[in-house]
């Protein structure tokens, strides 16, 4: 990078000094950024990222200061971006695909235990709330509460007991307690460790456990709570002290009780190939997914073929010099391409409305045809709108390709006695395909993943009856994955969504690889 000095690789003071200085400055900036990022990763305990950053930074310094790595000097920035934005993302998706990450399995096991304990600790019914002060005696902390004018003090080991001689306002917390120092609120705000200690403190109301233990949330009020769950670190089990049910960890990332019940909060675990096999074997999932897959292929293939055909047709038509105003017509023809796709899809959605849409009103005499409510009409409509959006692209590409066809070849064909059709079939089309076939493949991949148009036009509907993820007749794999992932609300299953993404990636990758190989044959003409 920035290596413009002739002859030297700008790593010494010999030759052009300017190049070396520029390089030094740039590397200083890069190192500063890198070290900064490494520090951030360290403070966030992100060890994988930290390791990757260290490797990348060391590599950068080696490459740009060493003599031997000349090609890498040019490749390295691209490789870094490839790593950060492609490889890392894909690797991460693959990792998630082998877990059950999603609703109910969002955090670690320790967090699930925390959540269970939170959910199991409830205020004692009818016990009310007491004004409270945090008190201290040396290292020991306790709570002093105002129980109807009487001041009671207790600690972790000592249940609440009345203390004589304390000062208290009528409805406020105790203001002075003999033998105890009242901790000022400012200390709670400033000393986080102390605040955590206060939050964790439970003071029994009496010897009877049913009366509960006072806890405070914000340091001025105390409420008796009872906890029904206890966590046993050693056996890794939660026990419900009311019912005696013991919940132990399962390999699916849940706490399951010996009575068959399951606690709501779980954690994410590795589930192997479960997500992949579920996509094909789960009865409720497999059939709609198969339909979606078939439609996705049909949609992508037909979109490319039809819009290519339409675009080519227009291109040939308006390539004829006898047509007047070709420039204006060409400009008009590419207009759909100039609108944002999601706007066009929304417009079409409105125009296809059975009652208020202009399509029915103008062309079908107000017949009230439900374009987007019938399975096959909706598919036809989605295809039509996609063709409408994408034919200008093919029109542009084909116009360009037609104009660059060598005139002598066409002339030779004419001299050999080829007719108009013969000329098109044997000369124009093969030559055209050489330059457009790779574009057709990328267009196929784009249509295959054309989320925008489906989501804006039909939201995938009309929906298959009895499907929990609201998959529908016009859903493509990509919009189905979006719905299954639950990002839009409802039950999320990132694991399954990631697994499906990987399958889609493999399918598109395989098709593209095969198709590119095939197009190479075209060039042999």
């Amino acid at each position: 990078m920035a290596d413009n000095s002739a002859g030297s690789h700008a790593r010494s003071w010999n030759g052009s000094i300017g190049g070396f200085v520029v390089k030094l400055l740039l590397m200083a900036v890069i190192n500063a950024v890198g070290i900064m990022a490494i520090l951030s990763a360290y403070f966030a305990n992100s060890w994988v990222i930290l390791a990757a950053l260290v490797v990348l930074l060391l590599a950068a310094n080696y490459i740009y200061f060493a003599r031997r790595a000349l090609p890498l000097k040019y490749l390295y920035p691209g490789l870094v971006f490839l790593f950060v934005f492609q490889v890392f993302t894909m690797g991460y998706t693959a990792y998630v695909a082998f877990t059950n990450y999603g609703t109910g399995h969002a955090g670690s096991m320790q967090q699930a235990v925390d959540a269970a304990l939170i959910q199991g600790e409830r205020p004692v019914e009818g016990a009310g709330t007491y004004p409270l002060a945090v008190v201290r005696q040396g290292d020991q902390i306790g709570f002093a509460i105002n129980d109807g004018g009487e001041v009671k003090v207790g600690t972790e080991d000592q249940p609440m007991a009345v203390i004589e001689g304390a000062e208290v306002t009528e409805d406020g917390p105790p203001t002075a307690v003999p033998d105890w120092e009242i901790v000022p609120r400012a200390e709670l705000y400033q000393d986080q460790a102390f605040a955590d200690q206060v939050l964790g403190l439970r003071v029994s109301m009496s010897e009877d456990a049913d009366d509960g233990s006072v806890r405070t949330r914000e340091g001025t009020r105390g409420t008796p709570y009872r906890s029904s769950l206890t966590w046993d670190e050693g056996s890794q089990t939660l026990t419900n002290t009311d019912t005696g049910v013991v919940y132990s960890a399962t390999d699916r990332g849940n706490f399951a009780g010996d009575d068959g019940s399951i606690l709501p909060t779980g954690w994410y675990v590795n589930v192997g190939f479960d997500n992949f096999s579920r996509a094909f074997t789960d009865g409720a999932m497999a059939k709609p997914l198969l339909q979606v897959t078939l439609w996705t292929f049909a949609f992508a293939i037909l979109s490319v073929l039809i819009s290519f055909g339409v675009g080519l047709g227009f291109a040939i038509l308006f390539n004829d010099e006898r047509i007047r105003g070709r420039k204006i017509i060409r400009t008009l023809l590419i207009l759909p391409y100039a609108f944002p796709a999601f706007m066009s899809a929304l417009l079409w959605r409105g125009m296809l409305n059975p009652e208020f849409g202009v399509i029915n009103e103008w062309f079908f005499g107000g017949a009230g045809i439900g374009w987007l409510t019938s399975e096959w009409l909706a598919r036809a409509a989605a295809l039509f709108v996609n063709v409408w959006l994408s034919y200008p692209y093919w029109f542009l590409v084909c116009t360009g390709a037609l104009q660059s066809l060598p005139g002598d070849v066409l002339e030779a064909a004419t001299l050999d006695g080829a007719g108009r059709f013969q000329r098109f079939k044997s000369v124009v089309l093969p030559l055209l395909l050489v330059s457009t076939a790779p574009l057709a493949i990328s267009s196929f991949a784009f249509s295959f993943n054309n989320f925008t148009i489906i989501y804006m036009l039909t939201e995938g509907g009309p929906f298959f009856p009895g499907n929990a993820n609201r998959l529908g007749a016009t859903d493509l794999l990509i919009s189905a994955i979006y719905k299954i992932s639950g990002v839009s609300g409802g039950v999320a299953d990132y694991g399954l969504a990631s697994a499906l993404s990987i399958i889609v990636f493999i399918v598109i990758g395989a098709i593209s690889a095969v198709a590119f190989r095939q197009t190479r044959k075209l060039e042999e003409f």
């Binding site: 990022a37 609703t103 967090q111 206060v198 709501p264």
Partner: protein, 420 residues
């Protein structure tokens, strides 16, 4: 988890920006004032005196929360960072980032996220410390899950009957038939329009009519919280389904899946419809129309109970400063002054009764409040997403002319299977 990735990118860009600003030797300090990318929390920005809070909000409430945060900073010396995000992103970001330690201490949110938040284990319970009675009952019920209160409620929203005063006067029709009759008499193009979400279906807007048949989506237990037992499978539900069909494409046509949100508001705001059912958010689009807001009339004989949505403040279960966060929620946002400031910055139906009383001099606000008084909280179980999908789709199909009895029965079977 997913956030590690984002973190990497953020670390990179933050680093870039930092070095662009010059060789600053105190990176953590300057990383803080970039709210848009500041998903990093207290680990990165330790305040001078140790305590700091991070709060997520959307753009509309940011001002109000910031002013409360300033007051809190002054009172306690803590540092409060208010981070603005898209409301739609809050739910999922909270669920994915709290477990990684990158989440906020407090987030604003809607009550129907509660099931998902509890299952994900990312929310802590809160204790209003005896001030519960200051809030509307339905707001507290909404924020309660499995008998525990999980958030401080502050605003509510619900749908109500909105009528064009110039066409049908101000008086509330008592029944569906009265309403249709008065709408027809007024000579409007349509006596009544209701949004069905286009072909998607909209069980939410329709729910007032459904409950008037005595067919709640779930059976409620004695304390008012929902069980997972579907409540619309019986005869009452069938009667509602038949009513949908009778007023749908094969019947009177008052209900139609050609009406989506925009068309609904277009028809009403141009005076082509005499009545509609909508929420307070639609009122600004009815400019120029003289509107009155009333409770939804009964279609099935029983009172209409529309869904009430409640917004409030959730506390993260992994907050490093739970004491401070609780103090801010209960003693600042939860006071009358705090709630009034929130209302003034972004007027929504107040959840605190005293504020509700103050603002109900406005007849439109009073109309929605009256409607919310009959209302029930939207269920918040995590499976609700699937419930909506089945439910909306079935309603749309019936309105379109599908056989009401069998469609409704299939939907209920699907729901029962889904909820296990």
């Amino acid at each position: 988890m997913r956030n590690r990735l984002a973190f990497g990118a953020i670390a990179l860009t933050t680093g870039l920006m930092l070095s662009a600003c010059g060789s600053d030797s105190a990176p953590a300090e300057s990383a803080a004032p970039q709210p848009s990318s500041a998903t990093t929390t207290s680990t990165e920005a330790p305040a001078a005196n140790g305590a700091s809070l991070t709060i997520w909000t959307d753009a509309e409430r940011q001002q109000a929360i910031q002013s409360q945060a300033d007051a809190f900073e002054e009172a306690t010396g803590a540092t409060v960072t208010v981070v603005q995000k898209n409301f739609e992103d809050l739910r999922n970001d909270f669920i994915t980032q709290v477990p990684t330690g990158e989440g906020p201490d407090i987030t604003i949110g809607a009550h129907d996220w509660l099931g998902a938040l509890v299952t994900a284990g990312v929310v802590d319970t809160i204790d209003l410390g005896g001030t519960e009675s200051a809030f509307q009952q339905v707001a507290l019920e909404a924020m309660t899950y499995d008998g525990q209160l999980y958030a401080l409620p502050y605003a509510m929203e619900t749908v109500a009957l909105i009528q064009n005063v110039d066409l049908v006067g101000e008086e509330a029709p008592a029944t569906w038939d009265d309403m249709i009759a008065s709408g027809l008499e007024a000579g409007a193009e349509r006596p009544f329009v209701i949004n069905t979400g286009g072909t998607t279906g909209d069980g939410y807007t329709m729910y007032g009519f459904q409950t008037s048949f005595g067919a709640p989506v779930f059976v409620q237990d004695d304390s008012g919280s929902y069980t997972t037992e579907v409540g619309m499978a019986g005869e009452e539900g069938q009667a509602f389904a038949k009513w949908l069909h009778d007023n749908g494409a094969q019947g009177t046509g008052y209900l139609s899946t050609t009406i989506d949100y925009d068309i609904n508001n277009e028809l009403f705001s141009t005076g082509k419809a005499a009545y509609t059912v909508q929420g307070p958010w639609a009122i600004p689009s009815y400019e120029g129309i003289n509107v009155a807001v009333n409770p939804i009339p009964s279609a099935g004989g029983q009172p209409s109970a529309p869904f009430v949505g409640v917004q409030g403040f959730y506390l993260s279960s992994q907050s490093d400063n739970a004491l401070l966060a609780n103090d801010f929620i209960v003693n600042f946002l939860g006071t009358e002054d705090g709630q009034r400031a929130l209302y003034e910055a972004d007027p929504r139906l107040p959840a605190m009764s005293a504020i509700a009383e103050e603002v109900s001099s406005d007849p439109i606000v009073a109309g929605f409040l009256a409607s919310s008084e009959n209302g029930v909280p939207m269920p918040s179980i995590p499976e609700m997403g699937a419930v909506w999908d089945f439910w909306n789709a079935a309603e749309a199909q019936i309105i379109d002319g599908a056989d009401p009895a069998s469609t409704w029965t299939t939907m209920n079977e699907n729901l029962a299977a889904e909820l296990g």
